[in-house]
């Protein structure tokens, strides 16, 4: 998979927040097989140095986010600070429209994407399955779209599968990453079977009873789902169809 011209070895992108300990986080990154981890920036407090070392040792591409920003201006300033601090022009652009639903503010998102793309950022916008919004983001200069599966941290999976299917068909050839709302490996596999290029998740691993094992489960599910997509799923039928041939049946009555 290529994102902004960079070959990425894994289709699972993993968040680094909310793990029980830095050691568990480091091990979860390893067992997931991920090649891209999301990071953030916050007011400097004690313990900051440890996290710097951890992300350096993880050997993954870093995708800093603008989580918590509620305006284009905040997100733009955060992105500029992240670029200097993490030494990457990749930015997961989140502009939150409502504190409870954490859904994106589409208008501010496009505004911020336009400014950041013009400044040379490689913008990964956290968006909805809205097709026109997706087109506006591409016009702004984004080369990747990251539609939500469900609200951040909700674990509801793919809440609007038909809408996501339409989005996949509409943006053939554009890397689409399902970002947010994934709660179980089966949901990640379903997204991959639908033809999404990758899945980005955090809470489902971090809040699992055993995050390290769950990280591996998600890594395998994403691989399985991708393989299934490439293999081509059988067409769905409304009626039963025998799988064992009728021809050559014995007459036993």
């Amino acid at each position: 998979m290529r994102l902004y011209g960079t070959e990425i070895a894994s289709r699972l992108l993993l968040g680094t927040a909310q793990y029980p300990s830095p050691a568990v986080l480091a091990e979860a990154i390893r067992t997931s097989g991920t090649a891209v981890i999301t990071v953030s920036l916050r007011r400097e407090g004690p313990g900051g140095g440890g996290f710097r070392d951890l992300i350096a040792q993880a050997g993954c591409h870093l995708l800093p986010n603008t989580a918590g920003c509620h305006s284009a201006q905040e997100a733009i300033t955060t992105a500029r600070m992240a670029r200097e601090l993490f030494g990457t022009d990749w930015i997961k652009l989140e502009v939150i429209g409502h504190a409870d639903t954490l859904q994106p503010d589409p208008f501010a998102l496009v505004e911020a994407a336009r400014v950041l793309c013009a400044e040379g950022f490689k913008v990964f916008p956290y968006t909805t399955e809205d097709l026109i919004l997706g087109e506006r983001l591409l016009e702004a200069g984004c080369e990747v779209l990251m539609p939500w599966g469900a609200p951040i941290g909700s674990g509801q999976g793919l809440r609007n599968p038909e809408g996501l299917r339409s989005m996949r068909a509409h943006f053939a050839g554009v890397p689409l990453v399902i970002d947010a709302g994934i709660g179980a490996p089966s949901q990640a596999a379903a997204a991959m079977e639908m033809g999404f290029d990758a899945v980005l998740l955090n809470t489902a691993v971090a809040k699992a009873a055993d995050p390290v094992a769950m990280a591996r489960a998600f890594g395998l599910a994403v691989q399985a789902g991708r393989l299934a997509h490439e293999a081509g799923l059988m067409p769905r039928r409304d009626m039963a169809a025998p799988s064992t041939p009728i021809f050559g049946m014995a007459e036993l009555l």
Binding site: Q18, S40, L41, R42, R43, E44, R52, A67, T77, M81
Partner: protein, 65 residues
């Protein structure tokens, strides 16, 4: 002068942003800075004067989703 650093008002001697980073003991290359909501790159901190009541943000890498 009276400055607000990461939301906490404090009295500091610093007159430039780079002075402030030194005075508070931050490692200059390990933090990103903003003054009154605008990003100030590392190379411009020395040439960025502070004025009374300025709001400074000093940010570091943190876990994120």
């Amino acid at each position: 002068m009276r400055l607000e650093v990461n939301g906490t008002p404090q009295e500091l001697r610093a007159t430039t942003l780079s002075d402030l980073i030194d005075e508070l003991g931050y490692e200059a290359a390990c933090v990103a800075t903003a003054l009154n909501g605008h990003f100030v790159p590392l190379g411009l901190r020395g040439a960025t004067p502070l004025s009374e009541g300025a709001k400074v943000e000093v940010l570091a890498p943190m876990q994120g989703g």
